[in-house]
Symmetry: C2
Subunit: 204 residues, 2 copies
C-alpha cells in the first residue's frame, strides 16, 4: 500500500467529489449566473485555483455537476430488459437521472437548472454538447449523426414537458408510462427503422 | 365611422401592439429577469398601469410577446399540403415561428428567450402552458391529453437541439429536412397510430 505524501489532501478523487457536491448545491440555490468559481470553492472549503485546475472554467464545473456519476449507456442496457426495448430503457434511464434515488432536490430540478444554464450561457450549451458527444453520442470521436441527435431531441423534449412546462399527462405519469409511449420513437430514431407494430401508440 | 373620444390614444389595438413590440425588444436585450413592467412601459412610452391593464403581470406580457401573431393551427394547415403530412407541416410551422420572416433577432433567439424565461420563472411556464392549452392544444377547454402533450414535447425537443444545444445535423439542416424526419413521429403522436411506412426514418 502506498502512503500519500504528508500534507496532501487524502486523495484527488475525494477533493474533486467534494467540489462537485458543493458546486451542485451552489448552482441549485444561486442559479448558474449567481454562482462563481470563487463561491463554489468557498462552499467546498478549497482554494479557487484548485477548482480551475480540475474543471477549467464555470462551464466545465457545471458539466461535472451534470455528470451525476451515471453512464447512460450502461444504465440503459440494465433497464432495457425491464422496459421491454432499448428505447424505453433509455427513457427510463433519462428520467432516473433527474428524479431517481441519486438525484438531489425536487424531482426534475437538475434538469431545470441545466436548461436554465444552457439557455443563458452559450458556453454551457457548448460544453454540454461536447460532453454528450464524447461520453454518450459518439465515444469513437465521430460526428453524432441524425440518430443520436434526434434521440437527444426527443428526450430533452420529454424533460421539458415533464419538469419545466409540467404538461399533463406527461408531468404526472409514471416513468414506465412515459417510457412505453416514447420508447418506440426512440427505437425508430436509433435504428433508422419503424416503431414496433402496435407498441406505444398515443391515445387520449 | 366612429371618431374616438378626444385625448384618448387612437386605438386599443395599436397601443397594445406597441407595448408588445417594446416588450419584445426589452426581453431580447435585458432577458426575462432584467425586464420589468416599468421598463417595458418606458420603452413603449406608456404608463405602467396600462401594461398591467392589458397583460396583468410580467408573465402575461411575456406570453403576449411569444404569441407572435401566429395561429399555429392555421399555419399548419397551409403548410401541410406543401410538406406532405400534417405532422411535417406542424414542424415547418414551428420552425417558421422562430426563424421565419416574421421572427426578430438571430434565428432561434426567441425560442432561447422562451426557454430561459420558462426555466427561470415557474409563473412563465404556467402562463405559457395555459396559453398553449387555450389557443393550440385544446381550444374546447378540455385537458390536453397525451397527443398534444407528446407533440409539444417533440417540437420543443427539436427547438432545444437546433437552437440551444446546436446539435448537428439538426442545427444546420433545412426546415424541410427536419420536417421530413420528425413529421412522421408527430403524425403518430397526433393520430395515436403508426408512422407511415418507409417515411422519415433516421439514417446516419
Amino acid at each position: 500500500m502506498v502512503t500519500p505524501p504528508l500534507g496532501r489532501r487524502p486523495g484527488k478523487r475525494d477533493t474533486r467529489t467534494e467540489i462537485v457536491a458543493a458546486a451542485r448545491e451552489a448552482f441549485r440555490t444561486d442559479g448558474y449566473d449567481g454562482t462563481t468559481i470563487r463561491s463554489g470553492a468557498r462552499r467546498a472549503g478549497v482554494d479557487p485555483s484548485l477548482v480551475h485546475h480540475y474543471f477549467g472554467d464555470k462551464a466545465g464545473l457545471f458539466v461535472a455537476v451534470m455528470d451525476l456519476a451515471h453512464d447512460p449507456r450502461r444504465v440503459s442496457e440494465q433497464l432495457a430488459l425491464r422496459a421491454g426495448s432499448k428505447g424505453a430503457g433509455l427513457v427510463l434511464a433519462f428520467l432516473d437521472i433527474w428524479e431517481g434515488p441519486a438525484s438531489t432536490g425536487e424531482p426534475g430540478s437538475g434538469f431545470i437548472a441545466m436548461v436554465q444554464a444552457a439557455s443563458s450561457a452559450p458556453e454551457v450549451a457548448t460544453a454540454l454538447r461536447e460532453f454528450l458527444t464524447e461520453r454518450v453520442w459518439r465515444p469513437d470521436g465521430g460526428a453524432p449523426g441524425w440518430g443520436p441527435a434526434l434521440v437527444s431531441a426527443q428526450l430533452a423534449g420529454v424533460g421539458w414537458a415533464r419538469y419545466v412546462m409540467r404538461v399533463e399527462p406527461i408531468a404526472s405519469a409514471t416513468p414506465e408510462e412515459v417510457a412505453a409511449l416514447v420508447g418506440p420513437t426512440i427505437d425508430r430514431f436509433m435504428a433508422g427503422g419503424q416503431a414496433p407494430e402496435g407498441a406505444g401508440t398515443a391515445t387520449e
